[in-house]
């Protein structure tokens, strides 16, 4: 396999290519996007050589574009991901969503003792620097990308 990232046009005419997903994280990203119901063809490339990260995953989703919430979900799961919109076998637009300081009503706190699991509380997760980039606004529990769960 070549170390050059596959040209999107070699895979599909119209759709979305998500690049720079951490090695072996593409299945989790794909599961989160909940594309099964749409029945779109999907190609997944796992462990492709990467000059920056040694190995990376890519997702190719035919004839589909993410909305802004889905874009945010992708970057919450895969912080280095780039979303490429494909038209006529070419990359029409590159999207690199910025993380907000607080993610509201999108992510579940993974701490089972958190007040958000026992009361009707608006979910709020802070994004912070460091190896554990998410912190529950209420219980202050810090966690990694691996523990991200959506409402």
């Amino acid at each position: 396999m070549t170390s050059t990232t596959p040209k999107s046009g070699q895979i599909m005419e119209t759709g979305t290519m998500i690049d720079h997903i951490a090695f072996w994280q593409a299945p989790k990203v794909l599961e989160t996007l909940k594309l099964q119901a749409l029945g779109k063809p999907v190609a997944m490339l796992l462990g492709h050589p990467s000059s920056r990260y040694q190995k990376k995953d890519l997702l190719f989703i035919d004839n589909w574009e993410p909305d802004s919430v889905t874009e945010l979900k992708v970057v919450l799961l895969a912080p280095y991901a780039t979303i490429n919109l494909i038209r006529d076998f070419q990359i029409e637009k590159k999207i690199k969503p910025q993380l907000p300081d607080i993610v509201e009503e999108l992510m579940l706190c993974p701490n089972p003792r958190c007040i958000t699991h026992s009361e009707e509380v608006p979910h709020k997760i802070r994004t912070v620097e460091g190896r554990l980039p998410f912190e529950c606004y209420y219980c202050e529990f810090r966690y990694s990308h691996d523990q991200v769960k959506f409402l």
């Binding site: 958190c114 007040i115 958000t116 190896r131 554990l132 606004y137 209420y138 219980c139 202050e140 810090r142």
Partner: protein
């Protein structure tokens, strides 16, 4: 005149709400307040969803000492909480009765939620395994009084570092002061959680993990003992594996620093033998006495009126 600290602090939910200046201001007030009636005519709601001996009593004493009145409950027996009333609704009700709310709750993050909901100041008196900021302020008061400073200290934190909220709050507070070194002494299964370690390391606090208290006892200025918290463990076997892991006896205190003080948030079970009480190193009962002064200072800072 209202201090800068008072202007910037509406609630006391977590040590992460406090700057070093806030802490110094509160400790200064704790030393200088006596029985001044700064809460005269004010009603404070004590909402204790969990059992408490010292925290409840010392808040009550502090409020009365400052001339205030109390309402609320200690334990949920006989309250609407048992009928399923939400924390939200309980807070909305008591904010109509009281000028401030002191809350203890078994859920992590309950106080932050209460503070968001409440129109009056909320003071966290312990939320699950998360935070216990007023305990930390009285711990700091004891450290300051016995060591004369809050910087450049070697502090051993011993026992249940996984479930203990006092350890979380105190370690965060000590990380605000320069050159402190923390020795985290625990069984492997009760180590300080990774997210807390990360938080301390971000501030440059030196940390050492170890299992044997005897390896560090001769080095430290403060030995902060904690109880293994059976009530917070989901697996009963987990408690059986770690109970009695640490038991400090007077005979262990032979080669220690003269200024060593042993602190404990209390209640103790068997982690400090009673013969330690008679040594010059025991300071846990004096530490607990400072709870009234520290809580007076917090109440005065948040809701005290001008004299």
């Amino acid at each position: 005149m209202m201090s800068t600290a008072a202007k910037t602090l509406r609630h006391l939910v977590s040590m992460s709400d406090l700057t070093r200046e806030h802490i110094e201001e509160i400790l200064h007030r704790a030393e200088s307040l006596s029985s001044q009636p700064t809460l005269e005519g004010k009603q404070i709601a004590l909402l204790f969803y969990e059992n408490s001996t010292r925290t409840y009593s010392s808040f009550r004493t502090a409020i009365h000492r400052l001339g205030g009145l109390t309402c609320g409950f200690a334990g949920t027996a006989g309250t609407s909480v048992l009928k399923g009333e939400s924390l939200h609704d309980t807070i909305k009700m008591f904010e109509e009765y009281a000028d401030a709310i002191v809350l203890r709750h078994p859920r992590d993050g309950a106080s932050r939620w209460a503070a968001d909901v409440s129109s009056v100041p909320v003071i966290n008196a312990g939320d699950g395994q998360n935070q216990h900021p007023t305990q930390t302020l009285l711990d700091l008061l004891a450290i300051k009084r016995t060591q004369g400073r809050l910087t450049g200290l070697k502090v051993a934190m011993v026992g249940d570092l996984k479930y203990g909220r006092t350890v979380r709050s105190l370690s965060q507070a000590l990380s605000l002061f320069e050159d402190n070194e923390l020795f985290l002494v625990s069984p492997p299964s009760l180590r300080l959680p990774l997210d807390q370690v990360e938080r301390l390391q971000e501030r440059g606090t030196r940390l050492q993990h170890c299992q044997r208290l005897e390896d560090v006892l001769s080095e430290v200025d403060i030995c902060y003992m904690t109880r293994i918290q059976q009530e917070r463990m989901e697996d009963p076997d987990e408690y059986e594996r770690v109970r009695g892991f640490y038991r400090l006896r007077a005979k262990d205190l032979v080669d220690v620093k003269d200024n060593l003080k042993i602190l404990h948030p209390l209640p103790r079970v068997d982690e400090i033998a009673h013969d330690v009480d008679r040594t010059p190193y025991a300071h846990y009962f004096e530490q607990a006495k400072g709870g009234v002064e520290a809580r007076c200072a917090v109440l005065d800072l948040l809701i005290g009126g001008p004299l």
